[in-house]
């Protein structure tokens, strides 16, 4: 059935709908990962974003329950060049079309995605409305909807994605994908703030012998410290970090008291807590091929990215130092504050999807938690 993607600047892209019927708005972004659509769909960081895949064939390997990053699809819409007409993979349990329909998420196929991506690259990310079915025949109304959709800047989306109650995470990775680690039920306790946390991050922690309790984003620092954790983890998540003021406060109150490790939104929150600033990027980094240089070792990591905001390069981090930069645009990708025992990266060492070059950061967190010397 006909589907239409309408951009706030008036441009439209037509295609064939799949997944759910209806209309949805969101921030239109693109991802250059050639694999991992399933992980992308279920990553809470994509909340309220319509994601365009640059790889033309999507859905080839279907959907399996093991590769989900959360218990639902978070993207607001999914844009592809060709939805696979079939599924082929020994782990597949169902097809993408049916999964999105069940999840109430609209997909659009047969879209001139390269043209769309070049448009976003030149004009920056923008709001869009995606319609599948009847509504797709009214472009003017859809453009209007796109214009009236909420802006990502200033949006606190964490409350939408965070868990409601704390829970213990015990599951670890399937050793066929990640190096086997020993699970230790008596390991050091880590409190992981859930601002939209991915399952693979949690598994990375448990794999390394840590006990993990996941807490809602609005859990106070005092409550966290009362649990006597050996370390606190700040997770990835959607929206504008500067709008999540309570997380910035929480973090500020934890710094110096317990080792802190942040990823993505957690990195931005840490920077803000240290006194830095964040800004919205033109079209962000989303993909699995970004070169990040570890300034401490000189090693280059090919890394998975998914962020539309970044820590500004003129940030005063109050004794914090930049540890990683992106070689494509020299943006800040990692920082640490040795005195306060905190460090973070903008990108995704847990990958999923993406290369596993940066898993050492989890080992570093373990060393900090265990107060062992850090190997860099």
């Amino acid at each position: 059935m006909h589907a239409l993607l309408a951009l706030e600047d008036g441009r439209t892209f037509s295609g064939v709908g799949f997944g759910a019927d209806g209309v949805q708005t969101g921030e239109l972004v693109f991802n250059t990962s050639m694999t991992g659509y399933q992980e992308i769909l279920t990553d809470p960081s994509y909340h309220k974003q319509i994601v365009t895949m640059t790889v033309p064939h999507v859905g080839n390997t279907g959907i399996n329950v093991d590769d989900l990053e959360s218990d639902r699809v978070w993207v607001a819409g999914f844009v592809v060049r060709q939805l696979s007409p079939t599924v082929s993979n020994w782990r597949s349990q169902r097809d993408l079309d049916g999964y999105l329909r069940e999840q109430g998420v609209i997909g659009i196929s047969e879209v001139a995605t390269r043209s769309l991506v070049r448009h976003i690259r030149e004009k920056g990310v923008m709001r869009a409305a995606l319609a599948h079915g009847e509504a797709a025949h009214d472009p003017a109304a859809l453009i209007e909807m796109a214009k009236n959709a909420p802006d990502m800047s200033g949006a606190n989306l964490v409350d939408d994605v965070s868990c409601v109650e704390a829970y213990n995470w015990t599951e670890h990775s399937d050793p066929q994908w990640y190096k086997d680690h020993d699970y230790d039920p008596n390991g050091a306790l880590i409190i992981a703030y859930d601002t939209g946390i991915k399952r693979t991050i949690l598994r990375m922690l448990t794999d390394r012998g840590l006990r993990v309790t996941v807490v809602p984003a609005r859990t106070t620092a005092a409550a966290v410290l009362a649990m006597n954790p050996a370390g606190v983890f700040l997770s990835n998540g959607p929206g504008d970090p500067a709008a999540v003021t309570y997380m910035i406060d929480n973090t500020r109150n934890l710094l110096g008291k317990v080792p802190v490790f942040g990823i993505c939104l957690g990195h931005q929150i840490l920077a803000l807590a240290l006194g830095g600033h964040t800004e919205k990027m033109r079209f962000g980094h989303r993909g699995g091929n970004q070169p990040v240089k570890n300034l401490l070792t000189g090693v280059i990591e090919i890394s998975a990215h998914n962020h539309g905001f970044a820590v500004t390069s003129d940030s005063d981090l109050q004794g914090g130092e930049v540890t990683h930069i992106n070689l494509n645009d020299n943006s800040i990708e990692g920082l640490r504050h040795e005195a306060l025992g905190a460090f973070s990266v903008q990108y995704h060492p847990e990958a999923s999807p993406g290369p596993h070059d940066s898993l050492y950061l989890f080992d570093e967190f373990v060393s900090r938690v265990k107060r062992e010397p850090i190997r860099v």
Binding site: T35, Q38, T54, W90, N328, P355
Partner: protein, 1064 residues
């Protein structure tokens, strides 16, 4: 890390002649390495035996040696040039093996030459299958169960343990040479014996066959600090069991989840760590069980490979260039990405398109060869196509092959499910037929082992095609037309399906506004702007071609490599680009062969990676509106479409299409020769058996016969009597109205090739080459020498005169090639080709004259006088070109030369005297002529006179003569000592046993016509298998004697082209 300053001079070894498994891609990688190292200020010394390469043009290195690739010769070059370092990783397996020998013999240490880009231990580990397997298990990876053996008995024992079918893989051979699959002990014994012989270390691996598993390849790079990137993931359409060079392959991988792909990436990294690749490019191959995902590591190549050329073209990431920079100490982050300009090379390309590579085979050239595909590569060339989807890329790839197929949907007779089980060159088309006949995608997947995802894509193409039944072109609206084009349907294919002609489809399509968009290959899926115009067509919206309004010329490339159409034409195309650029034109290259220098985005200003069909070329012409189009450099492929291009309004530069047609049209051409009073062999056509006999009698035997409707000498034969003529006709001709051409065969004539330039008014000869083999051997398979060494001055003058007359009379504007034959004091014209010929690069190397450049200048309107090329260049010394034949790859094919071309490549030897030059050429062609030992002589009665003289010379040189009774009696009659040996039919021990035992060091065997009698074929086959030099013509035997004599008098010397031509 900055580049190393302790190195000043770097020696680069090329890959030698084009052979199956080692093609022009190593010219591409070598050129990149040479260019970038020179640009970094290093002094470069290049050695390669292949004169048809761009890399051996003197301007690409500081010192260029076209010399045999042997350790002794390389040592001499090292002594002369004193390099600090040797880069062995851009010259394929040949360079790597040579580096290994140089290292093992202590030659590198002795001269203080450091190996860069590779370490010896890694090469050993990656190349030795047992060591590799042990190492993989040590780091927790799995390989298919296998045993390395050095004897056939051990192979049989191993196979019992592993279970049939088993794979046999010889250690250290090119393109899986000598490998095979054995289903039973008999097959195993045969393949293992051959494999052990072919392996330089005398070992084969007997391995569990993982037939039917999914096959993947990761192209990876790493730098000296350990930074690691995956440049490209490649998935094979053909499952395990077919050599990857013979597989249809797809990039990026399509049927793996991220978890599964990252696992391969991690494994590739572990493999590199363990093998210890210092810096550079490598590939790692994996097999995956489609049922449960179990992974086996199959192999790793610690060098730039055939697939790295493909990966470079597929992604825009120039692996060889970057490998060379890494070898001198740079790190990936210090090297900019050429395409985006703003980002570094330390990233992994993201593809927003699909690339399909399809191999190109030439089985028709090798009757008797096993055309089943297996672990030994048999493809001669390949095409690559880019589309936004797999379907589009695949159909573009099919029409790029230049095999008369314009898409996936053509119907073939054989499409039974059982036929789909057998991997052959036809299988893809059998799948099309099967789907058309109603076989379900599931059944196709089960029978072929293709992943169901691919089969479904194929089925969708087939369904679209079925949907066109009973439709007419006018019933196709723009929506449907666009959809068909998005699935890669060619206009020509649609014309067949809609029962109309291509131009009608084209005009209807254009009227509907369905025209291609040109998108850029940008390494980054549009995340960054692409500054390099590396383009492909697709049917989507927007266009990224950004057409300029400069003066511009399109050069049409040669398409896939095949026998008769090889690297020589790419050489000419590349020079055409360089010449046009120097004249201020914007240059635009169109080609579909990923192995070439012409498809390096650095070669032309703009590169369209597109099929060379009328449709695809005209679409580009419509978009670019060039001032000129050059069709004469890419060989037959562009010439075949020249007429249609001109009719469609393309501005063809250079020699006119009418002239091209004149040369092809037998009647017109004969008329012109009569008018010029230039003799041609007598000839006529016949359309019935009886007529053929009459014609043959009129002309007089022997006659050369060929069907008129085939190209490239296919089906051509020399027949000596009525019986042979009838036997040939029964085998090749259906007598259904197509004429058969019957020509006088000039027995024992000398053949001469001339390459010349004509500007329409005057002619200058570039080179006159005499064939060493007599008439009857295809010019492409014959060794030849420049200047002529055995023709009288008088005849050469006649040849010069005829060349002048023909060039002017035909109005050639550019290069042309004429084949002459001299018999009984008469100079005959055999053939004129008004285009760049196969010998142009050889002549350029020998004379130092850039013929292709001049031809381009002529096409652009300059006269020879303006160019300043009015005199035939003098040749200093002797240059011998020798052909390299693929018989080792096709056991069962009679290894003899004939009128049908079968060589894949060429080498050159040069020296001040003919003997040394010939010896070097033979050595470069891997025929090490003996300086002592036993020579087996077996010649047909016609050659006995010539053989006597040769035998006398050999005895005088100290050789022992060996012959069977008949020849022996003849030689003894003239007083020569001969050791008599039994024929095969006389029982053991016989001549074949003697060859196997290493008792024979040279075989001189002249067969007669089509009588491939058993003994001769077996002797030739055995000699080829055991690497014993084999000479099949008397004139070559005479040259061999001269070569051996020269070497006995004076050792070989080496000399760079720069020194030879006084360029430094």
């Amino acid at each position: 890390m900055p580049k190393r300053l302790d190195i000043k001079t770097i020696l680069i070894i090329g890959s030698g002649p084009i052979v199956i498994g080692q093609g022009p891609e190593f010219d591409y990688s070598g050129v990149q390495a040479c260019k970038v190292l020179r640009a970094q200020g290093y002094r470069t010394v290049l050695v390669n035996s292949n004169p048809a390469t761009i890399m051996t043009d003197p301007e690409f290195a500081d010192a260029t040696y076209i010399e045999p690739l042997t350790p002794e010769i390389i040592e001499r070059i090292i002594e002369a040039e004193r390099p600090d370092a040797l880069l062995p990783t851009v010259g394929g397996q040949t360079a790597l093996n040579l580096a290994k020998t140089l290292s093992e013999r202590g030659i590198l240490r002795k001269h203080g030459v450091e190996l860069i880009g590779a370490v010896m231990e890694s090469i050993d580990l990656a190349e030795d299958r047992q060591l590799f397997k042990d190492a993989m298990i040590e780091v927790g990876l799995s390989c298919p169960p296998s045993v390395v053996v050095g004897a056939v008995d051990d192979a049989l024992t191993a196979a019992v343990q592993i279970g049939y079918p088993v794979l046999i893989r010889p250690s250290f051979t090119l393109g899986g040479s000598g490998g095979g699959i054995a289903y039973d002990p008999d097959e195993l014994s045969q393949i293992a014996e051959r494999g052990i012989k072919l392996s330089p270390v005398g070992q084969v691996l007997i391995e569990m066959s993982v037939l039917g598993w999914k096959e993947y390849e990761l192209e990876v790079m790493r730098d000296v600090t350990g930074n690691f990137v995956v440049v490209c993931t490649i998935e094979n359409l053909d499952p395990m069991g077919v050599h990857t060079g013979d597989s249809i392959t797809v990039a990026p991988a399509q049927t793996l989840t991220d978890k599964e792909l990252q696992r391969l990436r991690n494994m590739a990294k572990i493999v590199l760590d363990r093998v210890g690749l210092a810096t550079g490019g490598a590939n790692v191959q994996f097999a995956i069980n489609p049922a449960d995902g179990q992974v086996y590591v199959i192999e790793m190549n610690p060098r730039v490979s055939r697939s790295s050329a493909l990966a470079s073209k597929a992604t825009g990431f120039p692996i060889a260039k970057i490998a060379a920079l890494l070898a001198v100490g740079f790190t990936l982050d210090e090297i900019p990405n050429d395409i985006t300009k703003v980002t570094p090379a330390s990233f992994e390309p993201s593809l927003d398109y699909v690339v399909v590579k399809i191999p190109r085979w030439d089985f028709a050239k090798f009757p008797g060869a096993d055309s089943r595909l297996g672990p030994q590569m048999k493809a001669i060339g390949e095409v690559m196509a880019i589309g936004r989807t797999f379907a589009e890329a695949l159909q573009k790839g099919i029409r790029s092959l230049d095999i008369g197929m314009f898409g996936f949907g053509y119907k073939l007779a054989e499409s039974a499910p059982e036929a789909l089980r057998l991997p052959t060159a036809q299988r893809l088309f059998q799948v099309a037929s099967a789907l058309h006949d109603g076989l379900t995608p599931q059944e196709v997947a089960e029978n072929t082992g293709f992943d169901p995802w691919f089969v479904r894509q194929l089925a969708d193409i087939a369904a679209l095609q079925t949907g066109l039944e009973n439709k007419s072109i006018n019933g196709i609206d723009s929506h449907e037309m666009r959809r068909l084009k998005q699935y890669g349907f060619a206009d020509r294919q649609l014309a067949v399906l809609l029962n109309t002609d291509e131009m009608t489809v084209r005009s209807h399509r254009k009227a509907l506004g369905v025209i291609p968009s040109y998108y850029r290959v940008d390494t980054c899926a549009a995340e960054f702007e692409a500054h390099t115009p590396y383009l492909y067509s697709t049917y989507e919206q927007d266009d990224e071609a950004h057409i300029s309004d400069r003066k511009k010329v399109i050069v049409l490339g040669g398409g896939p490599n095949r026998i008769g159409q090889g690297i020589e034409f790419d050489y000419c195309c590349v020079h055409a680009c360089f010449a046009l650029r120097a004249m201020g034109y914007e240059t635009i290259m169109i080609n579909c062969n990923p192995e070439t220098v012409s498809t390096d985005y650095d070669t032309a200003d703009r590169l369209y990676f597109e099929p060379l069909t009328v449709e695809d070329v005209m679409n580009i012409i419509d978009a670019e509106k060039p001032d000129g189009v050059l069709v004469q450099f890419g060989g037959q492929t562009p010439l075949n479409i020249a007429r249609a291009l001109e009719n469609a309004g393309a501005p063809i530069w250079g020699t006119s299409v009418d002239t091209i047609d004149l040369a092809e049209d037998r009647r017109q051409f004969n008329g012109l020769m009569r008018q010029l009073e230039i003799p041609q062999p007598a000839g006529a056509t016949a359309t019935t058996r009886d007529q053929a006999l009459t014609v043959a009698h009129e002309i007089g035997y022997p006659v050369l016969v060929r069907p008129s409707y085939v190209l490239g000498g296919r089906g051509m034969a020399i027949v000596f009597d009525d019986d042979m003529l009838m036997a040939w006709s029964d085998k090749h001709i259906e007598w259904n109205g197509h004429p058969v051409l019957i020509d006088q065969f000039l027995d024992d004539a000398f053949e001469v090739d001339v390459d010349a330039l004509c500007d329409g008014d005057s002619v200058t000869i570039g080179g006159i080459m005499q064939h060493i083999e007599e008439a009857g051997v295809h010019s492409g398979d014959s060794a030849c020498v420049l200047p002529p060494y055995k023709i009288s001055y008088y005849h050469v003058e006649i040849i010069r005169e005829y060349t002048q007359m023909i060039g002017k009379a035909m109005g050639v504007r550019g290069l042309f090639n004429i084949q002459f034959a001299i018999k009984d004091e008469v100079v005959y014209v055999l053939e004129v080709n008004p285009r760049a010929s196969r010998t142009v690069p050889f002549v350029c190397k020998a004379t130092g004259i850039p013929l292709a450049t001049y031809a381009t200048q002529i096409a652009a309107g300059k006269s020879l006088a303006e160019i300043g090329f009015m005199e035939e260049p003098r040749v200093d010394g002797f240059f011998v070109k020798e052909a390299v034949l693929p018989f080792q790859k096709f056991p069962g094919v009679d290894a003899r030369l004939g009128p049908e071309m079968r060589s894949t490549g060429e080498v050159m030897g040069h020296a001040s005297g003919f003997g040394h030059a010939f010896y070097k050429a033979e050595l470069a062609a891997n025929t090490a002529l003996p300086s002592e030992g036993s020579v087996f002589i077996s010649v047909n009665p016609y050659d006995r006179g010539a053989a006597t003289k040769i035998a006398k010379d050999l005895v005088a040189l100290g050789f022992t003569l060996v012959a069977t009774r008949g020849t022996a009696a003849y030689l003894e009659n003239v007083g020569l000592p001969v050791r008599i040996i039994q024929k095969v039919s006389e029982g053991s021990p016989n001549i074949v046993d003697a060859i196997r035992a290493g008792d024979i060091h040279l075989v001189i065997n002249t067969p007669r016509g089509g009588q491939a009698h058993y003994d001769g074929a077996l002797i030739r086959g055995t000699a080829h298998l055991y690497g014993v030099p084999i000479i099949t013509t008397m004139s070559a035997a005479t040259a061999v004697v001269q070569g051996i004599r020269a070497l006995r008098q004076k050792p070989l010397k080496v000399r760079s082209l720069q020194a030879h031509h006084g360029l430094n």
